[in-house]
């Protein structure tokens, strides 16, 4: 018998105490790569949330059937399949979003957040807990990516969700749209996030 898990805590931990981006620093590749605008961050977050949810469900369902020595390749095949499904569905039905995220969707496969949750949570817990865990972690990821994207977009292009609030020729901090800006913004946001969350939790 596994010990009983408090589902509310299980859900909230992904958003606050174990936020995948700001606290655990997982899945840095898509985090830094796509968050040059708030919309891109949101789109990437939602796509990742879907894959995370599906892979957690499947891994939790078949966990007893996978011999532990080959569990990692098995998880990767499951994750890669769902990512390919997301890619095909987006291209067919939401071509606008597909165009925006195109090259970053295959990157979801190597997002260690998804593999990490499959390995450390879904392969050890029951279906319901795994779903709640995936939702919590996924929403935490969406929130983090959207905040990071919004910060970089505000500073770098002077707009938010593509709505400009500075004049066309205004000088913005272009640095924040470029890769180094991602690191700088992430570092300051992590500090801020941890400060706030420690205060609210204690």
């Amino acid at each position: 018998m596994t010990k009983k898990i408090d589902q509310k805590q299980n859900f909230l931990k992904g958003i606050l105490k174990e936020n995948p981006v700001f606290v655990m620093l997982l899945g840095m590749c898509p985090t830094l790569g796509v968050t040059s605008s708030a919309f891109n961050g949101l789109g990437m977050g939602v796509a990742t949330l879907f894959v995370l949810l599906m892979s957690n469900i499947v891994v939790s369902l078949i966990k007893t059937q996978i011999p532990s020595k080959v569990r990692i390749p098995a998880f990767i095949i499951i994750i890669a399949s769902f990512v390919t499904v997301v890619e095909m569905v987006l291209e067919a039905f939401i071509p606008f979003l597909y165009e925006q995220l195109g090259i970053f969707i295959p990157l979801i496969v190597v997002n260690c957040l998804i593999l990490g949750r499959a390995e450390s949570f879904a392969s050890k817990n029951n279906l319901w807990s795994s779903i709640v865990d995936a939702l919590g972690m996924g929403i935490g990821f969406v929130i983090a990516l959207t905040i990071l994207g919004a910060t970089r977009e505000i500073l770098g292009s002077g707009s938010i969700f593509e709505m400009k609030f500075v004049s066309e020729d205004a000088n913005t901090f272009i640095l924040f749209i470029l890769p180094p800006g991602a690191f700088i913004a992430l570092a300051y946001l992590s500090v801020l996030f941890n400060k706030i969350s420690i205060k609210t939790l204690s």
Partner: protein
């Protein structure tokens, strides 16, 4: 419940099962999305054609010409627009590999006299917020109504007449190159 033991047979069987199921479900989804995918692509093309060409009443997609060129790997697509059976312009797909992140594909619409009617961006991977500004009105409007035989498509820095996007000279350069290529093909196949 106990975990399956990691014997050789168990490992082979479980991995084989997973790959088979994954393979079949991917094939199934692929079949499911094939139709809508092709439709979405066609729709995008028609929308681009409507944007870059003057009003037309034929079906340019059905009458597209594919021109083989020794300079470029892919054949070049040319769409001819007719209105009351009269030639009103054609759209040429131009591309350049010299974008900041590789391939840039644009569709350039020409009037019968060689002037640029409009340009639409089909494919690009440029930096969001910088290179992607080539889709903006501010950058595109300088090309409209220009005749590339007298309008130099290089950026000002390189001695041309194109006002480059701030911070994205490479993108602007590639854009000009793609436009030039489309124009050359248009003249060659008029």
């Amino acid at each position: 419940m106990r975990k399956k033991e990691s014997t050789f047979l168990n490992m082979v069987l479980s991995l084989a099962m997973i790959t088979i199921v994954a393979g079949f479900s991917l094939g199934f989804v692929n079949d499911l999305t094939k139709g809508p995918k092709a439709k979405a692509k066609l729709e995008r093309k028609i929308n681009a054609l409507k944007l870059v060409l003057p009003e037309f009443d034929n079906n340019p997609v059905a009458e597209k010409q594919l021109i083989k060129s020794d300079k470029f790997k892919d054949s070049i697509e040319i769409y001819t627009a007719l209105f009351n059976n009269e030639f009103v312009g054609s759209a040429v797909v131009g591309s350049s590999n010299k974008g900041f992140s590789g391939l840039i594909k644009i569709m350039v619409g020409f009037n019968p006299d060689g002037k640029i009617q409009n340009i639409a961006v089909l494919e690009q991977k440029e930096t969001p917020g910088l290179g992607t500004k080539m889709k903006d009105e501010k950058f595109l409007k300088q090309f409209r109504g220009k005749d590339p035989s007298s309008f130099n498509l290089k950026v000002i820095k390189d001695g041309g007449e194109v006002d480059a996007i701030t911070g994205s000279t490479i993108t602007s350069r590639a854009f000009g190159e793609a436009t030039q290529m489309a124009y050359d093909e248009f003249i060659k196949n008029k």
